[in-house]
Amino acid sequence: MTTTEEHTPGPTTAEIGGVGHSVKRKEDDRFIQGGGQYIEDISLPGMLHLALLRSPLPHARIVSIDASAAEQLPGVVAVVTGEALAAHGLAWMPTLSGDTQAVLATDKVRFQGQEVAGVVAESPYIAWDALELIDVEYDALPPVINPKIALSSDAPVIRDDKEGQTDNSCYQWESGDKAATDQAFAQADKVVSIDTHYPRSHPAPLETCGCVADLNPVTGQATIYMTSQAPHAIRTLFAMVAGLPEENIRVVSPDIGGGFGNKVPIYPGYVVATAASLLIGKPVKWIESRSENLISTGFARDYYMHAHLAVRNDGTILGLRVNMVSDQGAFYSDAQPSKFRAGLFHVVTGSYDYPAAHVVTQGAYTNKAPGGVAYRCSFRITEASYLIERLVQNAAYELNMDPADFRMKNFIKPERFPYHTPTGFVYDSGQYAAALQKALDDVGYAGMPQEKEEARKEGKLVGVGIASFTEAVGAGPSKDYDIAGLKMFDSAELRVHPTGKAILKLGTKAQGQGHETTYAQIVANELGIPASDIAVREGDTDNTPYGLGTYASRSTPTSGAAAVVIARKLREKARTIAAHVLEASEEDLEWEPGRFFVTGAPDRGVTIQDIALAAYSNYPEGTEPGLEGVHYYDPPNLTYPFGSYVVVVEVDEETGVWKVRRMVAVDDCGVRINPMIVEGQICGGLAEGYAMSSMQYITFDEDGNCIGSSFADYLVPTSWETPRFQLDETVTPSPHHPIGAKGVGESATVGSPAAYVNAVIDALLPYGVRNIDMPVTPARVWAAMQEAKAG
């Protein structure tokens, strides 16, 4: 193999359906016929149903819990309380950030919606009825809602359960070089700032979380069906938390109705259902309602960000300073690599070349739900990308420069890669100016002044917003990345059957990304077996190799790479067998898609299918039979997809209502395995970016009541509000991924919010508005204009 071959996909054909072909998805056949098997579709003999009682108060001491009336309701099998769990050491569980979280509250409740008790009954209806009969007496405590107030010295301490915790500080963490940054700022002609809040959001996949726990009291075998994006890691953590022998635990992630980060953590419902099944000896199902999903699991974002950019008058960026306070809720439960405390937020330096940055972060406990999940992003990279892209636009305005020109001037140039950022990332590749130029051309940027002027004549404000994001996705490498100590490699196991068909098993788990198709295409490309002949399996820990799961756009960079490597290894073994079959020497054989042949005699060849049969029936003496192997891939670096999004909006000056005139998205995710699926991922992310920028957020009143606890209040855009998108691409292969691919599932969610908001801010230039916090609702736009008018 030459170096080039090691980092590019080899040739393929449409019949084989390898890399670069928009093969129709293999998984669709079951979904379009109602044949998907989601968690709620799983029903086992004798199965009972769990419902959870949740706290109506955000902060209160529990005085007493009287469940006697609930226990007497016909059909109720058991009521589980924190006290009962404590007897088994299960009242508290570890979080993925090294904190502890109450499974069922024993001492006090710390957020509205916290789990207080569970009812196990013969039907879900009975379980819900019984919740009404549980009498909990609370002694209300003052709620702490604002994270900045939470960090003041006189705030009530929320986590009095933690030994030595005397305040509401959750973590403090910094990155970059303070002295170098101070020096950069000392040399600046101007310092530009932004102070903005990335509001609390929720991934809200259309399917909520749930599980069916089936612990067999006779065999000790535990099978837990669970909505998990990371079933192997969950199995290990369950073994550690519940003290169950890991070899007896089988976690199965069935079809998952969307994840977006919501289904990475362990939630109390999973633990209570498992404990209940263990104690009762029957399968127990727990399915979250939508309200439960929104108020108690997996919130995202909630970063208060204050940043300064040091610039020269000629538009050169010299340095960046960031102070960020995160609202973590009552338990610190971000799913993130343990060496970073605010995920990958320190990638905040963005797509620009400057020598100094200093990032200071602090987390606060508040009386809100825990979570801190990376909602369709790689560990808090969305917040970082949003901040720098908003800040550079403001800097351009302050310098009277065009925001596109300002970006072009400061982009990291192609010859600077691999590029070492001031906060420690090594960007693998990028051609930022080319992507932005393409987006500008596509959107008609040169015509914008005229378009704005014409709109003004019609009483409309038109604005154009840019975001030129760089993502950092695909964790490992394992030296830097782990979850709860488990290193972030991933795996692929491939077997070619005697009939020339194959099965590929992986440590990741799709939630809609189309893995059954794209992984098959990767192997098809390497082995020449048609993608339609390759079955892909994920999610069952008994039947797949160990892996860390699917989030942070890591499947293609890790398991995808593992699939390439193992397929290439099997191809080399196939060469040995082919030489035996053809009675030729290995050196004399050449490969073309699906076939080895003798150099100079193309008719003397053998197909991969015939080689597969020979691997079980006619292999050379001394060769291990079969055509099968497993590879664990530890990536040498993250991959760094990038792109430029440009949005044109018009704002109604009378009402503050804004709408998207057009939206251009140029993405560069390296080599595209299945262009159709890549574009589908991008469209979905652009819609979610629009959602966050325009309407979708969770907030709280001053008493700690969650506003946004149903789809009536938590606004998810429909087909009617969602803008239309124009996609384009550039291709800069990753220099280290074996086929040059990068992750793509989250680019659009990461990159697009800043583009939408920048466009609205640009439209409001006549008013001099420099910030509106998301979601940029018409009311906020209108208020910003009134405030500016009032001076």
Binding site: K24, R25, E27, D28, D29, R30, F31, I32, Q33, G34, G35, G36, Q37, Y38, E40, D41, Y125, A204, P205, L206, E207, T208, D255, I256, G257, G258, F260, S289, R290, S291, Q511, G512, Q513, G514, M676, I677, E679, G680, Q681, C683, G684, G685, L686, A687, E688, S710, F711, A712, V716, T718, S719, W720, T722, R724, F725
Partner: protein, 155 residues
């Protein structure tokens, strides 16, 4: 109480509590799990089925309200071993990702095309606006329905 409905052309019945929602009757009593539940407030539309040909959110009806009526669920779209053009369209145009909203989206689409065989993009987007999708940004769902409309016109 006994509820009898014609589901996908077959008469089915079951004994349920009066408060049983239609979606639970379909999913639990009749074991037709292609119809999904995505919210508690009738916003998401994942539970949409056709009741006498009209899309309804089956979490918003009691099973007894459907007694004696005719219901189409996703399991009934395929006829005589042939996928409905709507089903084919969703696959051809990549109109689904996680698949959770898909059965409902396809049933809404079918009702639309039965009423309006040549809808504009705005017609389609308006018709779909009672159903949420978190994966696709709706782009390819619209294309899937346009594909199906063309296919039906030439069939």
């Amino acid at each position: 109480m006994n509820v009898t409905v014609t589901v996908n052309g077959v008469e089915r019945s079951g004994d349920v509590e009066p408060r049983t929602l239609l979606v639970h009757f379909l999913r639990t009593t009749l074991e037709l799990t292609g119809t999904h539940v995505g919210c508690d407030t009738s916003n998401c539309g994942a539970c949409t089925v056709l009741l006498d040909g009209m899309p309804v959110k089956s979490c918003t009806l009691f099973a007894v309200q459907a007694d004696g009526r005719s219901i189409t669920t996703v399991e009934g779209l395929k006829q005589d071993g042939q996928l409905d053009p709507i089903q084919e369209g969703f696959k051809e145009m990549h109109g689904l990702q996680c698949g959770f909203c898909t059965p409902a989206m396809m049933l809404v689409s079918k009702a639309l095309l039965d009423r309006n065989p040549d809808p504009s993009e705005d017609d389609i987007r308006w018709e779909l606006s009672g159903n949420l999708c978190r994966c696709t940004g709706y782009v390819n769902i619209v294309k899937a329905i346009q594909w199906a409309a063309k296919e039906r016109a030439t069939a």
